[in-house]
Symmetry: C2
Subunit: 194 residues, 2 copies
């Protein structure tokens, strides 16, 4: 689904500032959110206040469908990472798009499949693998998204929040992986070398 198409259809664009919360756990879903610009993170927060990053969504992507489609309250927070322009599409309008926009339902199916794939991979890691293995897995996953020679712009804290580890553990782990040449660093940043 092209964002411009939605705007042409008359859907309104809303502005959200960094750190704004779009929805939080327990809320009943009413919209699907299409990102025109900016970035959001979807996180669950434990009783002790520890964040776990369920996903990051950027311009051109949408989020919030699963809870809406199965009609269950949200499990996660969705928080604005960078000032964003977002289109809220109501449940009825969303169902309308699925019915009437050719190819849209297939696009949703593929998007959901991709996310499911990522979560299956991470579940296996969290259930069975040790810190360094987990780290190497997400790092390689993230590296696949950047060009050869470019660096990952994630902090150790973010890696921690994606793997369920602690910053200190991530810092030590990244060091160790680097010394074993399983990953490569340039001025403190992880880079893709091939």
């Amino acid at each position: 689904m092209d964002i411009q198409k939605l705007i042409d259809k008359g859907f309104a664009v809303k502005t959200f500032k960094k750190d704004a919360i779009i929805y939080e756990p327990g809320m009943q879903p009413r919209y699907v959110y299409f990102i025109k610009s900016g970035e959001v993170r979807m996180v669950t927060i434990s009783d002790e206040g520890k964040e776990f990053i369920q996903g990051v969504f950027k311009a051109g992507q949408y989020f919030g469908e699963p809870a809406l489609l199965i009609d269950r309250p949200y499990l996660a927070f969705t928080i604005i990472n960078k000032d964003s322009h977002i289109i809220q599409v109501s449940k009825d309008d969303f169902f309308g798009l699925i019915e009437n926009e050719p190819g849209f339902s297939m696009s949703i199916i593929k998007t959901l499949s991709k996310r499911l794939f990522y979560k299956s991979m991470m579940l296996e890691e969290l259930a069975n693998e040790k810190a360094e293995h987990r780290l190497l897995t997400i790092i390689n996953y993230l590296l696949a998204e950047v060009k050869v020679g470019e660096q990952l712009k994630v902090t150790r804290q973010e890696l921690a929040d994606m793997t369920g580890l602690r910053v200190e553990t991530v810092i030590r782990g990244v060091k160790s992986l680097s010394s074993k040449e399983e990953i490569f660093m340039v001025r403190g940043k992880i880079v893709r070398v091939k």
Copy 2:
């Protein structure tokens, strides 16, 4: 999608015996599998041989679409739990069903959303929560599927394989939850009381 409808359309039913492996990690996906009868489990296995149960599928359900749809090799094993009758639908036929069967694409979207929901929940648990909390979460999740007064027919080993814990830890955890009356047992089995 009704299984009978598939049979009427001429799709062949294959028989699989307990413990047969339908596919394993690394294989390129070619089919979507519809279960006419029986049960399969989808598991990932760590280097040290530890199983993690990604999902269990029963009569009327289908599995194997995500990898096929995003055209990536399987991450998991799918193994027959109980002798089964299964219909293999090729990629082209599957796309055909999505295009032509009214309501089928919506059904897939909902199914994928539900699985995503479960995986998000488990990721949060594995990333942030301690053994007993994890246990209580899947137990309650599983109890929602059975009637009041009925018991869960899962072994401690299966609970371990769903939570990434060890049998001994599950046994101790279940004992502890039971003594705190957070769950209720009848003759060694967890029962739903309300």
